[in-house]
């Protein structure tokens, strides 16, 4: 399979509908998506501000590995991984994964694989500021 692949690190808000449209394919019957969103609390604390920082070149390389592995493992038509960096508001999306396939099981499994792997291999860090301090935490 040669799946259409979009891998981006962006500084502006993530427009899920616009990225989904870029993967449009008349053969696609299933679109599984995951949006990671900034929550108002974490580890029992109120989050007041959040910022993401990326080792951009390496992050894109690792995202490419995820896309290649996914396309080898499932019959995909398209895969997009979009990660935002910089300062985000509560409720804004930090990451978007979209997988298109003919059938839903493949789309779901590949989407789950992509976001789970991204969280462990892609060098992007999250900085949370609380009322009483701040921390670099698990992305």
């Amino acid at each position: 399979m040669s799946a259409k692949t979009i891998l981006e690190i962006v500084d502006a808000p993530i427009d899920a509908a616009a990225w989904t449209a870029k993967l449009a394919d008349p053969a696609a019957g299933a679109i599984a998506s995951f949006l990671g969103v900034v929550r108002d609390h974490a580890r029992g604390k109120s989050v007041v501000a959040i910022r993401y920082e990326a080792y951009r070149e390496m992050a894109l390389t690792e995202m490419k590995k995820i896309a290649d592995e996914a396309a080898k493992s499932w019959p995909l038509l398209g895969l997009a991984i979009i990660h935002r960096v910089g300062a985000l508001e509560i409720g804004e999306a930090s990451v978007l994964v979209i997988v298109t396939s003919a059938h839903r099981a493949d789309a779901f499994e590949a989407c789950r694989f992509a976001i789970d792997t991204l969280k462990t291999t892609v060098p992007i860090w999250k900085h949370e500021r609380y009322a009483d301090g701040s921390a670099w935490v698990d992305n």
Partner: protein
């Protein structure tokens, strides 16, 4: 040999910059560069396994010997930490 170090997140903050150029003896390992850079900081005694090492944007073992022109990055521990 000349190498370039890329620093991120808490490591960038600890050293106050995102990038360092170093001129090192042949045979220096990625872990030795980390020890040298972070001597005297809160990260000096960080258990080694909590940091990942990337050389030319690929994860590599800490004991990997560097070569002239390499780009080294220290991937900080995620979840919690000192900052």
């Amino acid at each position: 040999m000349k190498i370039r170090v890329r620093l991120f997140a808490m490591y960038r903050e600890a050293l106050g910059r995102g990038e360092v150029e170093l001129d090192l003896a042949d045979g220096t390992t990625a872990a030795q560069v980390f020890d040298r850079l972070f001597a005297g900081t809160a990260y000096e005694k960080l258990p080694r396994r909590t940091t990942l090492y990337a050389i030319n944007q690929t994860y590599q073992p800490p004991a990997t010997m560097l070569r002239d022109g390499d780009e080294v990055a220290f991937i900080p521990p995620v979840a919690g930490g000192l900052a």
